[in-house]
């Protein structure tokens, strides 16, 4: 016999498949088998149908497509025999899910089966229904299932209860029907039915608040009694697991009590005794016992406050924490996180254990413990906790370091009692794990440093020392380079020593060495190098003796392939060489950054755009420039608005030279490569035209329309005026170019309506019509057009009539013309005024059809045309 005919027994097929050595072989076998099955289906083979379906299910489990078997399932379900029905329902559950439409066809069969006399068949149907019924099926069959909830056989009742759970999940409206039968179920003796009844009850309460009320009033006592009996019951062999009678029932009861007791004081009172009893009596050396205790603790935490119980619960959790079994510890950590909101004091007691858990080898436990520690930190214990965490940072794994660093940084930031401690800790973190520290964090550090003016000396020395030891961490290098640049003189003079410090001697060249090595390091990225360059500039002013050497270093980057570095190098070089007189003014101490406004920086921050100089008119949206500029702008306090992520030479200028610009004008930047020194040069070249300089530096704020437009207009005026020096006009043109990139329309002065260009509406060999537009300021939809007709030919036109037609969304009103005779060759014109109202203003432009009739030498001439070139925003 052909081994692959439909006569193959299931076992043989499985054996054949397992005997295949390669995937290709297996696929071949499966394909043959599927073909045989398909043939059998087509022939409507009765005998082997269930066998075929079983084979199909196996194939499905292996992962092959088996849609052709779905109708077979239906036929099998419809057949009268039990084995067929069983396989049919099984196939239904496996091969279909609730989203398939085929399911609808089954509804009738299922209904009949639910009413069958054979209770096993009823059971089958209930099972299948419980697994995959859809909302419509649920609605249809709910009354049957309800009836079955009171069936005589407990197994059927159990299955019916399970099915009902699914029904009310799918169709919550039907929940009311089930309330009464469920109340009866809760009094069952049979554990199976009881468990399912309780689960049904729990779900009912979740779905419908009336059910919740009902059960709360009527059934709480009953449930408490049941639980008590259960706890006190003697050894019952059929329900025993590890010495405890039916822990599953325990757990479900506790869960239901939790749902009932949540938010309701009376119910909670009723439960207190039994909860206490469960908590104390249950043995915890076995997993089952622990499971019950866990559920009990969760219930205690959720119901209304009862001090004694809560203490009990937290003690249990403490015991869990010191358990050797990882599972238990994990569970305890989870629960403690929830308990903290309730009673933080008690949890603090277990702090040391929790800290131990942070160092555990198991990743899940570590993560949980870390989160818990984070929640536990407050002002009193922040110092020792942070110390522990930072120590651990040194030995933790790479993947954990990221999380740990982030948490430590936020702890430090939130709870630091004094600045010096903050700086210390951050330095430690940076030394260990600077690469994981996010940008905002070290920016914040810089802000704090600049604010703590008495600590400047201390900070810069500490950073110097740190850099000596390790130079691997990028963020550390960046912060150090910035500080050395700013406070280099403090470093060398050992100024502002605190008594906890050891004196170190640092010469100027040492400081320059350090910064130079930062630049030269291969691993330094763009931000670091740029920061180092500007630090060198600052140092060249503070340490004049090293100026030459610094210049050499800076010049090395003249030919750098990276635009940012090249630009900085060139500019700084020229400052060092040619502009010593202003250099010291340029690189004075940064003003203290306002922490509050720094903290508030977010999406509203607008970067400044700065125009270029040296002929390098760069308008590139330069993503590279952004990070390098970030530190600078963050450090620069813009007058009111929050600092922005790309630098502005303009504000640099303001701060340094004390220029006071009244509105904080900024403009949107797709960041140009911003440079610090550029406006210096601008300023240099346009010295003497102070207002122009101010305005040329301030760029109009396109986005804040609430602001006064005057400076913007002023700057535009200034830009237009030819009296500016060359540099500022190049600035101007660049800025105009900038502006073009953003919003097309410049801000409008409030007096007249905007000006629209006039158009030549119609032109033929003998006639030209020009339109001039104007709008009333308050009425954007109506345009007044003044049309001018010019005669291009050498004949006079007489009886000149102009007609116009417009589409439906426009309204046209023609005023009488100034005359109807048009002199020749443009010696005179006829003007006519039209008013057009555009009901689709902004959406559709104006269009118009013309007809012009006139007489030339007694002959009639007619000209027609269409005007399409109206300005778009009329």
């Amino acid at each position: 016999m052909n081994p692959f005919s439909s006569g193959t027994r299931l076992r043989d097929m499985i054996r054949a498949i397992r005997a295949c050595k390669t995937a290709a072989e297996e696929r071949a076998v499966v394909r043959k088998e599927c073909a045989a099955i398909r043939a059998a289906i087509n022939e409507n083979d009765q005998d082997y149908r269930h066998r075929n379906l079983a084979k199909l299910m196996f194939i499905h489990m292996l992962g092959y497509p088996t849609h052709f078997g779905q109708m077979e399932c239906l036929k099998l379900i419809a057949s009268p025999g039990f084995p067929e029905k069983r396989i049919g329902y099984l196939g239904l559950m496996l091969l279909l899910d609730e989203r398939q439409e085929v399911l609808m066809l089954v509804t009738n069969s299922v209904k009949q089966d639910l009413n069958h006399t054979n209770q096993y068949i009823v059971g089958l149907a209930l099972c299948a229904l419980g697994n995959i019924c859809s909302a419509e099926m649920a609605r249809d069959l709910a009354p049957e299932v309800e009836r079955l909830l009171q069936f005589r056989d407990p197994n059927i009742r159990k299955k019916a209860a399970l099915c009902s759970i699914r029904i009310i999940k799918k169709v919550p409206d039907l929940a009311e029907n089930f309330i009464n039968p469920v109340a009866a179920l809760l009094k069952e003796k049979h554990h199976g039915v009881l468990i399912t009844g309780i689960q049904l009850c729990t779900d009912l309460c979740k779905v419908s608040p009336e059910a919740l009320e009902y059960f709360r009033k009527k059934c709480t006592d009953g449930l408490v009694r049941t639980l008590r009996d259960l706890v006190n019951s003697p050894y019952a062999p059929e329900y025993d697991i590890a010495g405890i009678t039916d822990p599953f029932l325990h757990i479900r009861l506790l869960k239901l009590l939790r749902v009932l007791g949540q938010g309701d004081a009376d119910a909670s009172d009723a439960m207190n005794d039994i909860l206490a009893q469960v908590a104390t009596k249950t043995e915890s050396n076995k997993n089952a016992g622990n499971a019950i205790l866990y559920e009990c603790v969760e219930t205690i935490m959720s119901i209304e406050d009862n001090g004694g119980l809560r203490v009990l619960a937290i003690n249990i959790l403490g015991r869990f924490l010191s358990n050797r079994d990882n599972n238990i510890r994990y569970v305890a950590l989870n629960m403690l996180m929830r308990a903290i909101t309730v009673d933080a004091q008690a949890v603090q007691r277990h702090r040391s254990t929790i800290l131990e858990c942070v160092k555990d080898s198991d990743a899940s436990i570590r993560k949980r413990a870390l989160e818990l520690v984070y929640l536990l930190v407050n002002e009193s214990n922040v110092k020792p906790l942070t110390k522990e965490l930072v120590d651990y940072l040194e030995v933790s794994d790479q993947d954990f370091k990221g999380d740990l660093t982030a948490k430590i940084c936020s702890i430090i930031e939130k709870f630091s009692p004094e600045k010096i401690w903050y700086i210390d800790q951050m330095l430690k973190v940076l030394t260990e794990a600077g690469n994981f520290v996010k940008d905002e964090v070290w920016h914040a550090l810089v802000v704090v440093i600049s604010n703590a003016s008495d600590l400047h000396g201390y900070t810069v020395r500490a950073l110097f020392r740190a850099l000596q030891t390790t130079a691997e961490q990028e963020s550390l290098v960046r912060v150090a380079v910035w500080c050395i640049g700013e406070y280099g003189d403090l470093l060398v003079n050992n100024a502002g020593m605190l008594n906890v410090e050891d004196p170190i001697t640092v010469t100027e060249s040492d400081a320059v060495d350090v910064v130079e090595s930062a630049i030269k390091r291969h691993a330094s990225d763009l931000t670091t190098k740029s920061m180092a360059l500007i630090a060198l500039l600052k140092l060249s002013s503070r340490f004049p003796s090293c100026s030459g050497r610094i210049k050499d270093i800076v010049v090395q980057h003249k030919g750098s392939l990276v635009l940012e570095l090249q630009q900085r190098s060139l500019e700084f070089n020229s400052i060092i060489e040619k502009h010593q007189n202003i250099r010291s003014a340029l690189v004075e101490r940064m003003p203290v950054l306002d922490e509050a406004s720094f903290g508030g920086r977010r999406a509203s921050s607008l970067p400044n755009t700065v125009s270029t100089s040296n002929g390098t008119a760069v308008k590139l949206p330069n993503g590279v420039a952004k990070p390098s500029a970030a530190p600078l702008v963050d450090l620069l306090d813009l007058s009111d608005d929050v600092p922005a992520p790309s630098s502005s030479g303009g504000d640099f200028l303001q701060d340094l030279l004390g220029v006071d610009l009244a509105p904080a004008t900024q403009s949107e930047g797709t960041s140009q490569a911003p440079k610090a020194g550029t406006d210096v040069l601008l300023d240099l070249l346009s010295i003497g035209s102070n207002p122009a300089q101010d305005n040329s530096v301030s760029t109009p704020d396109i986005l804040s329309s609430a602001q006064d437009h005057k400076p913007a207009i002023a700057s535009l005026d200034v830009l237009a005026a030819p009296s500016l020096t060359q540099a500022s006009s190049s600035t101007a043109s660049n800025m105009m170019d900038l502006l073009d990139g953003f919003t097309p329309a410049p801000p409008k002065p409030a007096n007249n309506g905007p000006a629209y260009p006039s158009i030549v509406a119609f032109e033929s060999s003998s006639l030209r019509l020009t339109f001039n537009f104007s709008k009333q300021p308050g009425n954007p939809q109506t345009t007044t057009i003044s049309g001018t007709f010019t005669n291009l030919s050498s004949n006079v036109f007489t009886d000149f009539v102009f007609q116009a037609a417009v589409p439906k969304f426009l309204q046209l009103h023609l005023d009488p013309a100034s005359g109807n005779s048009l002199p020749a060759s443009g010696n005179g014109t006829i003007t006519q005024s039209l008013k057009v109202t555009n009901s689709q203003h902004g959406k559709k432009p104006l269009v118009m059809r013309l007809r012009i009739a006139y007489k030339v030498d007694g002959k009639d001439v007619l000209e027609e045309g269409q005007i399409n070139n109206f300005p778009r925003d009329l």
């Binding site: 299931l10 076992r11 499985i14 397992r18 079983a54 299910m57 196996f58 489990m61 992962g63 497509p65 069983r86 396989i87 099984l90 559950m93 496996l94 899910d97 609730e98 989203r99 099972c127 697994n131 697991i241 822990p247 599953f248 757990i251 869960k255 997993n287 089952a288 622990n290 499971a291 866990y294 559920e295 969760e298 990882n326 599972n327 238990i328 510890r329 994990y330 569970v331 080898s361 198991d362 990743a363 899940s364 436990i365």
Partner: protein, 114 residues
Amino acid sequence: MIRFILLQNRQGKTRLAKYYVPLEDSEKHKVEYEVHRLVVNRDPKFTNFVEFRTHKVIYRRYAGLFFSLCVDITDNELAYLECIHLFVEILDHFFSNVCELDLVFNFHKVLVLP
């Protein structure tokens, strides 16, 4: 709420899969693959609970088979561990000293159980 039950061997073949939430076939395969990867690499010293997407997977290893249960975040994990053990004991009783092959050849009987 249980989302699915998976029985997988160490090589990643799924011996039994019962889903209580609707999923496409391709999604089911993805899920089975991911759960297997997650579970097979865990040290026995680690906890039996892993986070998986937005749910939890509670697993236990019996000989060469991994029994994995995917549940909601808020469920009691220890109770489900007991469930798994109960299931294994039932299988044992049903097949008298069950082994993996029993499950393979009699999958249709096993499927009715959970």
